[in-house]
């Protein structure tokens, strides 16, 4: 797992990512969550911690519904 204080920049826009509310969709269900994203092009960053932690839990819950 990476440290939380890493600063990611969008290479295309040369802008630091900022927190942005993003809508996630899985198996017909939608949930929203705040994740880092490029303020210009909207490119999103999902950390390993989020993907393999909370997201994985929610994915399993939605699969079980």
């Amino acid at each position: 797992m990476e440290s939380k204080d890493r600063v990611w920049k969008c290479c295309k826009c040369d802008r630091e990512l900022v927190a942005k509310k993003i809508v996630f969709e899985y198996l017909g269900h939608s949930v929203s969550h705040e994740v880092p994203a490029c303020p210009k092009c909207g490119k999103v960053y999902i950390s390993q911690e989020l993907a393999e932690g909370r997201m994985s839990e929610v994915e399993q819950q939605l699969e079980d519904k």
Binding site: R6, K9, C11, K43, Y45, A51, E59
Partner: protein
């Protein structure tokens, strides 16, 4: 799907049915539950079970001749049957408050007459009085008890009867002999229980043993008058009270009980692992002390069938009865959110579909097929969690397209035999396929058929893809002149047997075992053959491997639970990684001896668990049994190499695999990360593609602190993320990689 489509697999299950002792019990008491409670010292709970079943617990505890003991499964182990009556007596002594319960039920108006105050009549009277019927008991003697009045312990019985009647209102007319039923014209129903040789009012001949009814529709009859024992008489009182209630409500007598259709239970209960425990002997003349009673009750084996649950990690983890699983396969297809949700998803996709539960079940309950049906139904309805099987379906696509190859031997159009190695054998070790084909082509008129049997589609429930693949295989087989297929993989062999029964099959190991040219060598002197689950019915394959092991001089020790899936079956590891770990660990520990395996998947599972093993083909061809498990990327490379070698050898054609722009990239992955990525089913091919996309488009993130990049690649089902650093032109060190299944709506 109809309900019976799913329940047909599980409806024979008798888990939860009464134990054999209950079938023998005149009261059909749940003796298992009674003993379980008594064994824990839950005296009140045990007493209530006893009281509710037997009406007069003190009389029954003193006088029952215990037919239950004749069926006690303790005797199967050579022990004495549980001393049920002695435990009952101890329960009575230890239950502090035995006051009967009183229920708030509206009083009834129809009147009941009971002729005879022996225990049979009293049992009927008490049960009807509890239902709030006005009951009048006629007895010619000056008190209740009938034949028990002269018993030396009558004082105890008298107290029990008084106690049980203390919560109901019943009119007793002692010293009143009924000489004619005309005297009872004011009553709506009459129960005659006048004892052995007692007055039957001319109705005994017309007595119906089942309904306890007589030719006089309002007169019922039971007890010793009808020739039954004292205990049966009490039990009849319970049954007739139900029949009489139906009669009073509907005007017709009808049977109400349905739980015990058979008089005897002939179910087989297995008690493997149960140890012999001798009967507890009371230390004093007054019967068991509380501790002795608990100890004796705890000898109960709590007979119930749990054979499948006890032997399957998945069933054990979810603790769901097979009948419930069968039902939920159906109900899961008919949910109505938010009022109802699916209940079976994780189980359905956590099953190895290995058939072990069916093989150990005494009545062939087939939970695997029920769960397979669930997967297929959900796939065809488009409500399946695609990510759980996406990786293997993509592997199947590869094996049936780029990895596929069919050819008769050099210079021939058709052949008598064709080697079907399956997709995993060559992926795991190309030599296994190449050397086997070398042997086959030297000894037989043998071609080759590279492809995939369709197991990934089958396990994903994708019947359409499965059928399309079968059709392709069938066509290739026809083109090769309908040869006998030679199988190295048990899964392929069993699936062909099931879905393409017209194709003649033989296992490679049988042919190797029959050859005098083959002299296998083994790194072990003692070993255990780990038969794959799919070989359960492929006895020739199992025997062939054992012959080869014997030729190598290996002393074999058989597993106690053969053909138990290594964990790979059903492709369940993404659906339930923890369970997968548990299963693979258990299988690796099933024997202390090293394993001889003949399934590439079993081999991989055990090698990754550092369980000493050898593939039988390593023994046959004298290959190095060690070596690391190839990475996902290497497996594909191996498969292509097998195809390249065989095409060159048989057809003298240079095979050129499909080229991708990212093939030129080199990715550097350290051993720990490689192992992690393989366990997550992330292939280096996906990493290369993701990096190539990012580098060629510039669509990536960078961390200026450490100079690394992060990119993502969205595939139809899965989104990959890769953190990497460029170490040389077109060379990238992978720092981490992961994926998620959710899609996000912006930025993609």
């Amino acid at each position: 799907m109809k309900l019976e489509d799913s329940t047909k697999y599980t409806s024979r299950c008798f888990r939860g049915e009464p134990a054999p002792c209950s079938y023998a019990c005149p009261f059909h008491m749940d003796i298992r539950s009674f003993l379980e409670k008594a064994g824990k010292g839950r005296w009140m709970a045990a007493y209530k079970t006893l009281r509710n079943a037997t009406v007069f617990p003190a009389i029954v505890a003193a006088l029952c001749d215990q037919p239950c003991r004749g069926c006690c499964q303790r005797t199967v182990l050579g022990d004495e049957a549980i001393a049920v009556r002695d435990v009952e007596s101890a329960v009575l002594r230890n239950t502090k408050d035995r006051k009967p319960d009183s229920y708030v039920i509206p009083p009834k108006t129809q009147r009941v007459a009971v002729v005879g105050a022996g225990v049979a009549g009293l049992s009927a009277a008490l049960n009807l009085a509890q239902k709030k019927y006005p009951v009048t008991v006629f007895e010619k003697q000056e008190g209740w008890g009938g034949s028990l009045r002269s018993h030396p312990r009558f004082a105890e019985f008298d107290a029990d009867i008084a106690l049980q009647f203390s919560a109901v209102e019943t009119e007793f007319r002692f010293g009143t002999e009924v000489e004619s039923l005309d005297e009872l014209a004011e009553f709506d129903v009459v129960y005659v229980a006048t004892g052995a040789g007692g007055e039957d009012f001319g109705l005994l001949e017309s007595w119906d043993r089942g309904l306890l009814a007589t030719s006089d529709r309002k007169v019922f009859m039971g007890g010793a008058l009808t020739g039954v024992t004292l205990m049966e008489g009490i039990a009849q009182g319970i049954e007739v009270s139900k029949t009489i209630e139906v009669f009073l409500q509907t005007g017709r007598a009808g049977l109400t009980h349905g739980a015990f259709k058979n008089d005897v239970c002939d179910r087989s209960f297995r008690h493997e692992g149960a140890v012999s425990v001798p009967l507890v002997v009371a230390s004093g003349p007054d019967g068991y002390t509380a501790d002795e009673a608990k100890e004796e009750a705890a000898r109960c084996l709590l007979c119930d069938c749990d054979t499948c649950i006890a032997t399957c990690e998945m069933l054990k983890r979810f603790r769901k009865d097979p009948q419930k699983i069968g039902l939920e396969v159906y109900t899961d297809m008919n949910v109505n959110p938010p009022f109802s949700v699916r209940a079976l998803t994780r189980e359905a996709y956590s099953c190895n579909i290995c058939g072990y539960c069916k093989s150990v079940c005494p009545v062939d309950v087939d939970i695997g097929s029920a769960l397979q049906l669930s997967r297929a139904a959900r796939m065809s309805a488009g409500i399946h969690p695609a990510a759980l099987h996406d990786f293997w379906l993509r592997e199947m696509d590869f094996a049936t397209s780029e990895g596929a190859f069919a050819s008769a031997p050099k210079g021939r159009q058709t052949c008598e035999y064709a080697f079907y190695p399956g997709c995993q054998l060559g992926a795991s070790n190309p030599e296994h396929v190449l050397r086997s084909y070398e042997f086959l082509s030297a000894q037989y008129d043998a071609g080759v058929l590279l492809g995939c049997c369709g197991a990934p589609a089958y396990w994903a429930g994708d019947e359409a893809r499965m059928q399309a693949n079968l059709d392709e295989i069938k066509k290739s087989w026809d083109d090769l002149g309908r040869p006998t297929l030679v199988f190295a993989c048990a899964t392929c062999m069993s699936l062909f047997g099931r879905f393409l029964p017209e194709i003649p099959r033989v296992s490679l190991y049988e042919l190797l075992a029959a050859s005098e040219d083959i002299a296998p060598v083994s790194p072990f002197t003692e070993a255990t053959v780990f038969d794959p689950c799919a070989a359960r019915d492929e006895h020739g394959m199992e025997a062939g491997v054992r012959t080869l092991a014997a030729k190598a001089g290996v002393a074999l020790e058989e597993l106690s639970e053969p053909n138990h899936c290594c964990g790979y079956g059903g492709h369940m590891r993404i659906a339930n990684p923890d369970l997968y770990d548990e299963i693979t660990q258990h299988r690796a520990e099933a024997s202390e001896k090293p394993y001889i395996v003949y399934c590439a998947n079993c081999k991989e599972v055990f090698s990754l668990r550092d369980k000493e093993n050898v593939h039988v083909l390593d023994m046959v061809f004298g290959l190095d049994a060690g070596g690391r498990v190839p990475s996902l990327f290497q497996k594909r490379e191996n498969s292509l190499m097998v195809k390249r070698e065989l095409m060159k050898e048989i057809q003298d054609v240079e095979f050129r695999p499909e080229e991708h722009p990212w093939d030129a990239l080199t990715v550097l992955i350290n051993d720990d990360l490689q192992r992690e990525l393989d366990s997550k089913l992330i292939s280096a091919a996906d990493l290369k593609e993701a990096i190539w996309l990012a580098e060629s488009s510039g669509d990536k993130l960078c961390d200026e602190g450490d100079g690394t990049f992060m990119c993502s690649m969205v595939k139809p089902v899965i989104t990959y993320w890769v953190n990497y650093r460029e170490t040389a032109p077109q060379t990238y060190e992978i720092l981490s990689a992961y994926y998620h299944r959710m899609r996000f709506e912006s930025g993609e």
